[in-house]
Symmetry: D2
Subunit: 375 residues, 4 copies
Amino acid sequence: MTPNKDLKMYSLKDLENYKIHGRTDESQYPLPLFFNGSGIEVNVTGSELWIDIDVDCEIHEPWIWTSINGAFMSRQMLLPGVQSLCLFRGMSPDAVKNVRFTRDLQAMSEDDFCHVLIRGFQTDGSFLPVSDKPYKLEFIGDSITSGEGTYGAKEDTDWLAIYMSSSRNYAVMVSDALNAEYRLISQGGWGVLSSWDNNPNCNIPSIYEKICGLAKGSFNEKLGAAKPHNFKSWQPDAVIVNLGTNDASAFNQPEWRNPETGETFKQHLNPDGTYNQEDLMRFKQAVIDFLSMLRKNNPASHIVWTYGMLGYDLTLAITDAMNTYQTLTGDTNTAFLQLPNTTDDTVGAHAHPGVKSHERAAKVLTEYLKNILGA
Amino acid sequence: MTPNKDLKMYSLKDLENYKIHGRTDESQYPLPLFFNGSGIEVNVTGSELWIDIDVDCEIHEPWIWTSINGAFMSRQMLLPGVQSLCLFRGMSPDAVKNVRFTRDLQAMSEDDFCHVLIRGFQTDGSFLPVSDKPYKLEFIGDSITSGEGTYGAKEDTDWLAIYMSSSRNYAVMVSDALNAEYRLISQGGWGVLSSWDNNPNCNIPSIYEKICGLAKGSFNEKLGAAKPHNFKSWQPDAVIVNLGTNDASAFNQPEWRNPETGETFKQHLNPDGTYNQEDLMRFKQAVIDFLSMLRKNNPASHIVWTYGMLGYDLTLAITDAMNTYQTLTGDTNTAFLQLPNTTDDTVGAHAHPGVKSHERAAKVLTEYLKNILGA
Amino acid sequence: MTPNKDLKMYSLKDLENYKIHGRTDESQYPLPLFFNGSGIEVNVTGSELWIDIDVDCEIHEPWIWTSINGAFMSRQMLLPGVQSLCLFRGMSPDAVKNVRFTRDLQAMSEDDFCHVLIRGFQTDGSFLPVSDKPYKLEFIGDSITSGEGTYGAKEDTDWLAIYMSSSRNYAVMVSDALNAEYRLISQGGWGVLSSWDNNPNCNIPSIYEKICGLAKGSFNEKLGAAKPHNFKSWQPDAVIVNLGTNDASAFNQPEWRNPETGETFKQHLNPDGTYNQEDLMRFKQAVIDFLSMLRKNNPASHIVWTYGMLGYDLTLAITDAMNTYQTLTGDTNTAFLQLPNTTDDTVGAHAHPGVKSHERAAKVLTEYLKNILGA
Amino acid sequence: MTPNKDLKMYSLKDLENYKIHGRTDESQYPLPLFFNGSGIEVNVTGSELWIDIDVDCEIHEPWIWTSINGAFMSRQMLLPGVQSLCLFRGMSPDAVKNVRFTRDLQAMSEDDFCHVLIRGFQTDGSFLPVSDKPYKLEFIGDSITSGEGTYGAKEDTDWLAIYMSSSRNYAVMVSDALNAEYRLISQGGWGVLSSWDNNPNCNIPSIYEKICGLAKGSFNEKLGAAKPHNFKSWQPDAVIVNLGTNDASAFNQPEWRNPETGETFKQHLNPDGTYNQEDLMRFKQAVIDFLSMLRKNNPASHIVWTYGMLGYDLTLAITDAMNTYQTLTGDTNTAFLQLPNTTDDTVGAHAHPGVKSHERAAKVLTEYLKNILGA
């Protein structure tokens, strides 16, 4: 293959026309993509386009996907190294191509070295402005919003990066249907109060106000992950919370114990199988507190708490908390929406919602948001 | 046409093998079918089968539908008179046919003369036992459960019997999918507290404990409609409530005034468009009271309150009431389930859910009940 | 029920504003509806509408269905007698209602007394003109086009009127999707050369040029059934033939023998299971001859021979005949289109295509005709 | 990332347990993957698997996709070089993973240097036998079978490798549904007689009997591409031809002229827009000759000629040829099947069938083959 001698390198430092998707520290160079669904979008002429990236991980390798003119083109594993990926070749040079490079893998709280950083592009074309979309949506969730199980066979049960995605994800389906920008903030296994296995440190509210509180360690700190997020910079029209599934699970799991401090935590069931009221109360308080945090940071956003894709168990507990929150605050710009439960027909890998379940949930949520946004 | 000389008349009084569907006073002869979905089922041999009925109405003519071996065969208007309808002709005489004659029209609280009574059958075959189905489901609702809009064109806006049905109805779809017997108790325009236009007398709880409190007047009284219902005779595995849609509407409608007594009723919105808390509270109390009434009469039934096919507005109010009810009673065999809202694609006549909306709701509800029933 | 005293009778003899659907002798009074899909359409104001009809049969009772504003409303068996059927009651009197009364049952070659005749209407409103639709489609076929099996359960195997329809029929689905008028000329069991059981008299071409050659006997003769059809009065944009299924069957059935004359007929298979070439040749000749007859009577119509809903066996024989016809005549305004075969998932009663199969065929045919008609 | 020190290299030369998919010269090392859908399949234990490949091209870069346990995992562009791709990492080592690495890009007759060669694998596990599937299917076609347009946006009109696939392809969908092995032999723009633009050298029959006659040049010759294919080594249960679309196009395109020899070729329309009979005849002869070639090489295979996904124009010409072929040879194990035309709703990139069109065609073809294969 004869190399294209007309390629020129464009560092993000110098480039004007591009759009960053997902929460990040935009002052960084190279630019980190922390969350699944985070990415970069360009409108570019030319016959060929490459993206220059830095990748690393200790255990869980990142996956990315690309699209051209809105159509999914590729999905692949990234392995450590400074590298360039070709995004297209041989295209009609005059046509403007809309190209998007997106992280498929969630922020990885269990791998401090997992990162994808963007340095810039190489092309024989030039970059044009990328326009904003009419709506902004923020999705906050757990493994469902991390797309776990949207790739993989039903019998696959490992907990692995390869099975997670933003490319087959209700959040992205909803956003595409509404022509909205999206941000995803999610972590498999985490809840609003504790993790699926009762770890009280694994709750989304604790990390929500940092740029990416899920990305830990000194390297991520240098990338700005631990900085407070500037909420004013991107105010969503709607915040969609999809939490509670792991909090429900915690009631059925053994006690968590901090091996270092001996601290323990456990959500209990009563002997008759119902929820212990005291424990349920602290779950509800966590919901109330998180709604307050969301409202503080997103004063005008519609907040909808969605629930149900992996069971309806905490429906009444969540709505009780939402009612209490509304009574306390008078904040009626908050709502509760059930999403259809996953069935044998719609399940994906690792007993998580498959593509069909995400499509079905996306339909209900899209219809709901259409009414809310007047879209 | 040469008449079939082998037809014999079988009065219900003498017949042993048949099965009555829907709440009625089974001691009556002829047998009244009060509700949509009420009917009679037989297993019969022979080449020909007729049903002998008495029909009347003042304004709203009843509609019925028939099925053979589970397949929809006919739907027609019934006009006043003692009459015989042919259900099939010319069939292989030895084969056992499962035949069902079902009322399509809801109980008509606005027409005291509207009735369908069954006298018996005529056939050249004989009747065999009709077996019970493994599950029993009771659906309680408003115009949605009365199937309003499941027949008719989108532009049809009259409030008429012709547009209502049990033959295209989520309640029947769910029951068929689960192989369950069903009973429907519903009335268009009614709510749990008041009607869509604030009439506080039009609430389902007020009629729930009579056989058919919706059927009024002296004629219906003779038919047993006003008798207390014997709940022990038919305990459902699940009670599915689908109420709240008209209660939500009441907040946006003018005050109701009793022309005779001058009594008035009105659910108010605050000036900012939110619900008046006091009025919302009496709605919630009505939900709580109805749950108590349902539990008293159906001690072991799973009770699920479904909501959403015509808007999600009272979601939090209903769940708040359900939470309060659970706290007061400890009755955790109650749950809340949203059904997908009706959209432009799924709407039917008179701005009510069309067949597609019923099908979609039925899918979600069927899946839910499958888990509950272990079906 | 208080009778509506404002009803007036309108005889078809005097009425101007109505539209007849389906081939008939329009000079007759009362007006016969010979074919499934034949009917009468009115635009009418008023609160109430009745239709006055004469019905009879010896064995096979006719079925009809009605629609209002394009939406299916009722389907019912008709029994012998001069009678009036109420089509609607209680409607807003000023609104114009489009109402259609349609025969569901095919022309019945095996029951000379089976007929539905229209005398007129009764209403308290008045009749407005019925506009023409932009396209005209003629469907010619066998039991598939007679809708056999579109009603009934899978296990139903009797050959009965109750299972046949135009109301659930690919021909009507296609016409509705294209906003076209339709005429159906079909007979269960018949082919282009012989019937499914080798009766060479049961071929559609032999009756095509009469108004309704399928309706026999002196009574039908008086109704004009045997008169030559005036093709110039209604030239279709497209003629859709759906024949060959019974001709394929004939190869696998025993010889037919005329009990009176001793005449016999049989399409043979070779010992190796392939078609006997001589017999196949006379099938092909029948196709060629029918195409010529169709073209003679429909000079400008697009003719498409569709095939496949009950097996693809004669695909190559039919196309061979069509090629020969094109070579002989140069008539390239003829085409062949396969329709998807019926499967376990889409089968209806009596091993015939069910509603799902009709819907699927309708989709392919609608798409095809859209291109042809430029619709 | 700490490298996995337990990885061992396995050269295909030494490896026993793997399965090659697609026609190739299996005596080559490294092993060439010529066609889209060609690939290698292994059953492997271990936590990690890499594949070692050689890639090159002059213009059109190859694309590949991978699957694990039958589920699509990745799709990516390959650029020139000797390289290793990681297929999975971090999996439960004891579980047996079924892994498949498949070429997405068609054989590239316009790029003699385009190739993907497999050297072997690296893993910390071990290889187990790969069992045969119960059926074998061979698909022969043009751009449709090359999956052109199954990736890309509707507005994309370049002719590029990125838009072609086997991963979203009716041939693979059919094979998966029937649990069949598949081989694809296809080339965009080619026909059974000539290319879409009248080049008579671009016809599939001319390359069918070589291993991969589409791969030209000395490098491909060394890879065995030009060797005669050993048909006995893999006899398909069915051969599915999907050709004719480009032959239809040729009638509407200008004359082709060989710039070197001055030779010309053109399929003509008559002035009235119909096909010139002489030219149509040579198309038919090409069909006949190809059927003979297919039968010679696949004595017992069912041969079905499918057609229609991009228009039904040559339906009668193809069936005429098939009839002639049957008459000449008596070979009735051949059939014709139309596949539903592509519509606005189902079209993909470059005005070619999109995923939805492939899915719809696959359904019809799967149902057809199920009957043929008794599957």
